[in-house]
């Protein structure tokens, strides 16, 4: 008897974006009724892979077959018609519509072809919510009034309102409390019992052990292991697969002696409700301190609160012993703080403007007298700052949007260099920077520290934190779970800490 063809089989999937090969010949096969877990570090290609599966990205090469037949997923609608539904981490619900309207968005039950039958929609939504174990959610309520967990249920109800055979869940447990996670797992169990396949993405190994059947591990855009048994593969082996890398980053040497003396940045008892717990932290001139943690561990929130972009619930920040006015970016900038934010394009760059103007924007008063700009000295200073960082092309008159990710990041660093900042807050400095350019950026960051800057670095890439930082704070769910000099930690240990909260061995 010939074996049943897998429900889904993706083979040799390749997908490149400018400067990055996000997927490099990935294979994935999923059987009906199984929970197939996708595991990998940030940037390993998980999101790109599920977007290909959802029809949101078109692969450059590779084939997808569905129940034994080759298919092309030209659009999200095409994927949905086949019975593939995706629940993204960032929920894609319309806040101002009701639960029932969201569930039936795009396929409303109608009379005479266009009159929406609200009662029918509500009734069927109520049935779906009951099946998902949440009969208390009123189909008539606005989605914006629901909790994150309830919104996720609505998202799932929407998936089930189609005739679905495969559901992709992207870190569904990230926003949930433990008992809500239990309910989620019960739902997953019910679905698989009905023959529906689930592709489950999570950072949390213990979840994968509980509900997973098989595991595929992605790393640097490749599937390094396909279809491992989820329950019996040792943690050690999984972590090794996730972290062992083909590309060895080159990190600059650390200074021989640790800096001492007075810290330039002192954080005391800083906290924000629901984001991170009270935090104490010092950074000395010439020192790089790393915060390691997963998405949702509060890393970015901590940096933005130190910078004054978010108002702290309690605690304070001092620079050179002087307390900053809480919640004021301008006070922070004046005191000598500079932030290179996580979302470079949305939070740092003026995309319509030249490199020069992006670099000079925080130091305009230095090139002006009575508000009048001296454009020649502005251009000269911007050029000097970008040259010091070897920004390419060596012409700050070009629009910043034409630069590669690494050079855009250098433009942001040049901004703070020009400003004469003393504490640099780096949030995922190599996000969107291709592998070749990273080593150069690392060298730049280390050189800035050697010249006396204090650097606070946030990254979800553990090797980056370990390779670059002098000291490391490991964060898990808004709490520092471990502090140590970087040379006393290794990647496995940090991954154990960020995923399970306690050392595994």
């Amino acid at each position: 008897m010939a074996p049943e063809p897998p429900l889904l089989s993706m083979s040799g999937i390749t997908k490149s974006f400018p400067g990055v090969r996000a997927l490099d010949g990935v294979d994935l096969d999923v059987q009906a009724g199984e929970v197939h877990c996708l595991l990998g570090q940030n940037g390993a290609g998980k999101s790109t892979l599920i977007k290909v599966l959802a029809g949101a990205h078109q692969p450059d090469t590779g084939t997808i077959s569905w129940r034994g037949e080759d298919v092309t997923l030209r659009s999200p609608i095409a994927a949905m018609r086949l019975g593939i539904a995706t629940i993204y981490q960032e929920l894609d619900l319309v806040e101002h519509l009701s639960v029932a309207e969201n569930v039936h968005l795009g396929h409303e039950p109608t009379a005479a072809g266009f009159v929406v039958r609200g009662k029918t929609a509500k009734a069927s939504t109520a049935r779906l919510l009951k099946r998902l174990g949440h009969p208390e959610i009123d189909p008539g309520r606005l989605v914006g009034q629901l909790s994150a967990a309830q919104q996720q249920i609505v998202s799932m109800a929407r998936a089930l309102s189609h005739d679905v055979r495969l559901i992709v869940m992207d870190e569904p447990s990230a926003a949930l409390d433990p008992d809500e996670v239990d309910n989620l797992f019960r739902i997953v169990g019910d679905l698989t019992a009905e023959g529906v396949a689930v592709v489950y993405i999570s950072h949390r190994l213990e979840e994968i052990r509980r509900i997973g059947d098989r595991v595929t591990v992605l790393k640097d855009g490749r599937a390094v292991a396909g279809g491992l048994p989820a329950k019996s593969t040792p943690t050690r082996e999984v972590v090794a697969l996730m972290t062992g890398r083909n590309v060895e980053y080159v990190f600059p040497d650390r200074p021989v002696s640790a800096p001492d003396g007075t810290p330039v940045l002192e954080v005391r008892g800083l906290m924000r409700h629901g984001e991170f717990e009270p935090l104490d932290l010092d950074v000395h001139p010439g020192e790089i301190v790393g915060l390691a943690g997963l998405v949702g561990s509060g890393r970015s929130e901590i940096l933005e609160t130190i910078y004054g972009a978010r108002k702290p619930g309690a605690g304070h920040v001092r620079v050179d012993g002087r307390a900053l006015r809480p919640g004021s970016v301008r006070a922070a900038v004046r005191a000598g703080l500079g932030l290179a934010p996580e979302e470079r394009k949305a939070q740092a760059l003026l995309m319509l403007e030249s490199v020069t103007r992006n670099v000079s924007v925080s130091s305009m008063s230095r090139f002006s007298r009575g508000g009048w700009l001296d454009r020649r000295s502005e251009a000269g200073a911007a050029r000097a700052a970008t040259r010091e960082l070897s920004l390419r092309p060596d012409n700050p008159a070009v629009p910043v949007r034409t630069l590669s990710g690494g050079n855009q990041q250098k433009a942001v660093l040049a901004r703070w260099l020009l400003r004469g900042c003393r504490v640099l807050l780096l949030d995922e400095p190599t996000r969107g920077v291709d592998v070749g350019a990273r080593a150069e950026l690392y060298a730049v960051i280390r050189r800035l520290a050697d010249e006396g800057l204090a650097v606070l670095l946030v990254s979800s890439e553990v090797p980056e934190v370990l390779g670059l930082a002098d000291r490391v704070l490991v964060l898990r769910e808004g709490r520092v779970v471990h502090r140590a000099p970087a040379r006393e930690l290794d990647e496995h240990r940090v991954l154990d800490l960020v995923m399970e909260g306690s050392p595994a061995s």
Binding site: A348, L350, V361, S362, W372, R376, R383, A397, E451
Partner: protein, 339 residues
């Protein structure tokens, strides 16, 4: 670490080849396609005017009239260009012009003479701008809503002040400014004011930190905030600036019409927005051009004039204006995506 702020170790004395002031050829190359095409449209309109009504259109008096008419809306458009460049919108400009013009022409105000009228027009404009700015920058209101509310209330107040009557200006020194005797080398004083406002506006937008901040706020307000710019204060100043321009425009209108009316400035907001947009200022913010806005104003005023000379009704004018706005934006899309 001040060593970062200090000039770099080497290469500083080399003048950057791309950053130096452009040569004439460079200037021509940089005079972007958009400005050239607007000039082309204006030239074509002048040609059409000259062919259809050679005697009337090219007559000096007619050209003086066109420029005078362009002056009032032109000054408003300069202020509007700043607001739109910052990602905002000011729907209240027409109503502010009306309110300023009637407040400045009440009998009581006219007792204070020329200076009293000018001062009142400007102060009323700035005051309305202040309210807009405070509501938007510090009250967190959407510019569309805040200025829509100002539109309604300023018009209402203007009607209340005048009771619907035209307020005649009796001050000779004001009326004289509209007479031919006041023309400087054939240029009406109103046009001179327009030119001065334009030049100052261009300089502020292109050569000052204020202009740079305006562009930064419009291009990416979050990035501007995280770069240390006081985004709220900048927004406040921008609506003040727009109000100031409305006050000046109201005074020009008082000179031009010799009166103040609560119906003044009707639909100026639409004309000013349209002129700025066809001039190349992005409605979404982040890019603004005073030159383009002024060309936009001149194009619209010239069309109105040509249509009037050819006895075409205002309904046809409105249709033509609409078509031009659509055509200009489509052309800009094309050129923007090709670069």
């Amino acid at each position: 670490m001040t060593q970062h702020a200090s000039p770099p170790r080497d290469n500083t004395d080399k003048v950057p080849p791309m950053g130096r002031p452009p040569s004439w050829r460079g200037l021509f190359a940089r005079a972007d396609v958009r400005t050239l095409s607007l000039l082309g449209v204006l030239a074509a309109l002048i040609l059409i005017g000259g062919i259809t009504k050679p005697d009337e259109f090219l007559d000096t008096r007619n050209l003086q009239l066109v420029l005078t008419q362009a002056s009032v809306i032109g000054v408003v458009t300069v202020g509007m260009t700043f607001v739109i460049t910052s990602g905002g919108i000011d729907l209240s400009v027409g109503a502010i012009v009306a309110l300023a013009s009637v407040w400045a022409t009440t009998v009581a105000t006219q007792d204070y003479g020329f200076a009293g009228v000018l001062f009142t027009a400007v102060i009323v404009g700035v005051g309305c701008g202040l309210v807009n700015g405070l509501l938007i920058a510090y009250g967190g209101m959407v510019p569309f809503i805040a200025t829509l509310a100002m539109l309604a209330s300023a018009r209402g107040l203007a009607l209340q002040i005048t009771d619907g009557k035209t307020q005649i200006v009796t001050i000779g020194s004001i009326l004289d400014l509209g007479e031919r005797d006041a023309y400087v080398l054939g240029v009406p004083p109103l046009v001179i004011v327009f030119a001065v406002v334009t030049i100052i506006g261009w300089l502020i937008l292109n050569r000052t930190t204020f202009g740079r901040r305006t562009v930064a706020v419009g291009g990416n307000a979050e990035a501007a905030r995280l770069a240390g710019i006081d985004v709220r204060r900048q927004r406040l100043y921008l609506y003040l600036l727009s109000g100031l321009c409305c006050g000046i425009a109201a005074f020009l209108l008082i000179i031009l019409s010799g009166s103040g009316q609560n119906t003044n400035g009707n639909l100026y907001e639409l004309d000013a927005i349209a002129a700025a947009i066809i001039g190349g200022t992005l409605l979404s913010g982040g890019r603004g051009t005073i030159t383009g806005s002024v060309l936009g104003v001149l194009i619209f005023t010239t069309i109105t004039n040509i249509f009037a000379l050819n006895n075409l009704q205002s309904d046809v004018q409105q249709i033509a204006k609409g078509a031009i706005i659509v055509a200009a934006v489509l052309v800009q899309r094309r050129t923007a995506s090709s670069t």
